[in-house]
């Protein structure tokens, strides 16, 4: 293998749970560090670097400053990886886009709203080219490790594009619909090993939608289980408001 790839980690608007999840690889951290050099990571270290081979970026873009920074990162890195729901598809932050931005700001800061500029929360791919995604909220650790080994081996990682239900059935979980809950697993992209349904909680859709989801079919399922049409779409929008814009 040639030189170790230089890795940088950045965060934008988000909860930094994905970054924390990187520090939570206690059992693998030393192996990971054997394969890469971490050259910039504000949350964990002081150093800054001029360029890098791989940039992992968490969070969505929601201020003019974010846009400048992400463009700068894109210029400095060979590979850009979006880490977690906020970066990949806008995530939770996208919910605020469903309301008029001025209203939202006024609600929080009242008259002081102009002190702090804000934009609709954008996923990274809406502004720059993203090479790979690690989905989930927080980013799925098993998927991160898969991506990591792929990058070290110099192969393109494959993104799963089937429903969470598949993984859920592979694990022989009792379907949470059986437990009287509703679940977004049927249209949500797998890769998390059906983490939530495996412990009795419904899938909230954090990993984004599968390609070409049948949304009206999903709406029908949710409505049949007692939600109003509006509530059904609110459920779907929890992590996917940006992708669902105009779909309703």
């Amino acid at each position: 293998m040639a030189e170790k790839p230089r890795v940088a980690i950045f965060d934008f608007t988000g909860c930094e749970g994905c970054e924390l999840n990187q520090l939570n690889f206690e059992d693998q951290l030393l192996d990971i560090l054997a394969h890469v050099d971490i050259v910039e990571w504000r949350e964990a270290m002081d150093d800054r670097a001029a360029e890098y081979d791989i940039a992992f970026v968490e969070g969505s873009l929601s201020t003019p400053d974010c846009i400048t920074r992400i463009n700068d990162i894109r210029r400095r890195t060979k590979v850009l990886v979006a880490l977690g729901a906020c970066a990949v598809q806008g995530g939770i932050n996208g919910m605020k886009n469903t309301q008029a931005i001025e209203e939202v700001r006024e609600e929080v800061y009242g008259e002081d709203k102009y002190l702090f500029p804000t934009l609709p929360a954008l996923a990274l791919h809406e502004v720059v080219k993203v090479d790979y995604n690690v989905r989930g909220c927080p980013m799925t650790q098993i998927e991160f490790l898969k991506l990591f080994t792929s990058l070290v081996m110099g192969k393109q990682p494959i993104e799963p594009d089937h429903a969470v239900c598949v993984d859920c059935k592979l694990k022989e979980n009792e379907c949470v619909y059986e437990r009287g809950m509703i679940c977004l697993g049927p249209v949500t992209r797998a890769g998390c090993d059906a983490q939530c349904p495996s412990v009795g909680q419904y899938c909230t859709g954090c990993r984004g939608l599968v390609t070409n989801p049948n949304l009206s079919g999903m709406e029908e399922i949710l409505v049949e289980h007692g939600l109003s049409v509006d509530e059904a779409w609110k459920r779907l929008e929890l992590y996917n408001a940006n992708d669902l814009e105009g779909a309703r």
Binding site: G17, L23, E43, A44, D46, D47, S62
Partner: protein, 434 residues
Amino acid sequence: MGTNLDIKVKHLTRVEGHGDIVVNMKEGRLEKAQLEIVEAPRYFEAMLKGRSFHEAAIITSRICGICSLGHQITSLKTTEQALGLEVSDQTVALRKLCIHGATLQSNILHAYFLAAPDFLNVGSVFPLVGSHPEVVKRALRMKRLANDMGDVISGRAVHPITPVPGGFTAIPSASALKELKRRLEEDMYPDLLATVETLKSLAGAIPGFTRETEYISLRNDHEYALYDGDICSSDTGRISDTEYRKMTNEFVVPHSTSKHCKVNRSSYMAGALARWNNNHDKLGELAHTAAAALGLTPDCYNPYMNTIAQVVEAADCAIDSIRLLDELLANGLKDELPNQEPTKFGTGVGCTEVPRGILYHEYTYDNKGRIVKANCIIPTGQNLANIDDDMKKLVPEIIEKSKEEITLHLEMLVRAYDPCISCSVHLLDVEFVE
């Protein structure tokens, strides 16, 4: 004196979220000494509006990945109070275990990964992998166990899955709990002792600065209050949690996307040091031994000692976890379902001690169980005014030092608070118009 000083630390490292330190001194007069919060606001209130009670905790836990468990538990307590949902003793015990796990993980992360590099004069934990491999491995082992407590009990350490209004969607197995207990006893206990030893050798690097302020934390009669209690001020004593607004008083300042707070003085402190000052009498033996070894005394007014107070309470969390596990195992785990049948729809208040201090949530629900009004007050927001006040006292005291040293002292001060900036920037205080 006539000193001029101009410090600007942009995007301070090794803290959670984005903040700048700005200090301006002109001819000996301090014009500015403050932590500017530049993290983008996230507007959680807009997200909560109209959301069902099933989703409130899922959303609010995304305010912050570092404090996700704290937000989640606080949110659940709030929802349960608003909707009149009773929870079982088993649920409470499991939640307390989660809080211990999260506190352990957060305090260890802070002490070893964020603060220790300052004591050892390096820029991050990574050089320590080579220079102090045993210490790094110990830190990772402790963190792993703390996270495993989260994984086993709440499904996942970051953004927990199983805690829902009324209980848990899945109850951990007895064998998994036994294994946690074994590891706490056999691994965590000696690692904690070793941590105290390591820190003792580094204690010289902690600056001797003091400033007395108001200390606010939860307090109750039966334990070191983390899960619940009255709100207690070192200045004015205890009041009920429902009156939390009296104990916060938020205001907007232009240099911060996060609101500031004050009560009896211009600022107050929340967090491990506040808890220690208010509740040290409730800590167990191991914590007291650790405190004595590390020079943490009652009524400690040195904010830099917050890191030490975190380690002291981490020790208590580990010991109390063993007690809780014993209790749960002795009672036998019941495979109970969450109680999700609301008995009323109204307003609820929840407050919990999370690693950085006391956290408040308040929600009002409509009669379909949807949120109409929400308010969250986050510990880091509460500490911001106090940090600014500390800086204003600190800078003149160390003005003789080099600019680099002053900067380092300031950075260390801010880090000692272990501020969680992403949490602090979305205070929710909104009436929604239906």
